[in-house]
Symmetry: C2
Subunit: 207 residues, 2 copies
DNA sequence: TAATTTATGTCAGCTCATGACATGTGACAA
DNA sequence: TTGTCACATGTCATGAGCTGACATAAATTA
């Protein structure tokens, strides 16, 4: 009886259907060129209902992205306090990928599609950056808390900014996604982390 | 005959008037709360005309930001080829501030206003990040050219990303802007550059 | 002054997004 | 099973951002 009830299941189903329909349409004819009405029609739902699931047209493409961010924050909260800030953040970044690796096949496909659409749509890219930036504030707060530094200390800002930069470079500019590029993505991320590690002085992230 | 002609002068005047009116309204009542019609009315111009000057409502707030980006690119192009990538980029970042310091008083006030509005408006912040990212592609291309590295080389991506990160941290989170915070801005930027310098291994930005 | 260019105004229309209210469908207890 | 309640959805109306088409007014040039 772990089942969440018919109502809830229907909602989840509609939600995923909306995401899938939206991503397919975005890939086919572009983000700007597809209307909310089209997405709603594809799922056989009123346009008004679309906006009950997603606040904006943007959101439907970025919802998975958000899950990743949350996973990152959650992982950071779990890291032991002795770990140096950047090490902890590295693990948090990796968590985004490992989380995906445990997912459904359909879910992974969905994520890769979303990534492709976002990469090819400036408006969506901007939106994703905005979310990254908002997430960054929380990361900074958490790092500052761990390290007991003041609010106007530059270091936490810099460390977090560097970590998100690494994540960004790692996730960006991957070759055209094939069937399951998750492995390639993970490899690229590791390469970027290694590059960062090798570029920085030991102990740089602690005063 | 150095004069650009009445027509051109009028256009520049209208353009600046639109920017000023928009920024003032954004500061007063918030970005989302002010309509294009209001901005147009404040300058006594039809709403349609507004969109002939700025493609979107966002653009009117971000136009100055764009000038800075262009200055950065221009400065990078001027830097001597022997200079290591990150050093060249540092100077390019500084150019954004020095350019402002040579500007009109009104222009500087405009810039500071714009910065304040952008910082307090997620939507605008996202837009500015998008432009930064688009600019980043050009910076990467230029660095790759200087260094003669291939298109899939991680290093140029990383170096440029780090430079824009420094710029971002340097420009962000300044205390509430007073009359002319340009000096404070410059100081903060220098502090961030110093922090980066001190965190990185010598020669990290060259293979 | 006349002819040509071009900035602006007007209007009509599309899409995104939201509030208000009605309706239908699952949840749950008697 | 049935009846009630909660809530997901549909319908309608509205406003804001943005664009195309065409007319008008102003500046430039001859």
């Amino acid at each position: 009886m772990g089942q969440p009830g018919l109502r809830e299941r229907k909602k989840q189903k509609t939600r995923l259907a909306l995401i899938d329909a939206a991503l397919d349409l975005f890939l086919e004819q572009g983000y700007e060129a597809t209307t909310v009405d089209q997405i709603a029609a594809a799922v056989d739902v009123s346009p008004r209902t679309f906006f009950r699931y997603f606040a904006t047209k943007e959101d439907v493409a970025l919802s998975l992205h958000v899950d990743g961010q949350e996973a990152m924050l959650a992982e950071l909260a779990c890291r032991p306090g002795e770990e140096s800030p950047f090490t902890a953040l590295s693990h948090a970044v990796r968590a985004m990928v490992t989380m995906l690796e445990e997912e459904d096949l359909a879910e992974r496909a969905r994520f890769l599609k979303a990534r492709e659409v976002i990469d090819n749509t400036p408006a969506l890219f901007a939106g994703s950056m905005r979310r990254v930036m908002e997430n960054e504030r929380q990361l900074i707060a958490e790092i500052a808390r761990r390290e007991g530094s003041g609010g106007d200390d530059l270091l936490p800002h810099f460390v977090v900014a560097l970590a998100t930069t690494v994540a960004r470079v790692g996730f960006e500019f991957c070759p055209p996604t094939g069937v399951d590029d998750l492995a390639a993505l993970a490899a690229r991320l590791e390469a970027t982390l290694a590059l960062a590690e090798r570029s920085l002085r030991p102990g740089w992230d602690r005063p």
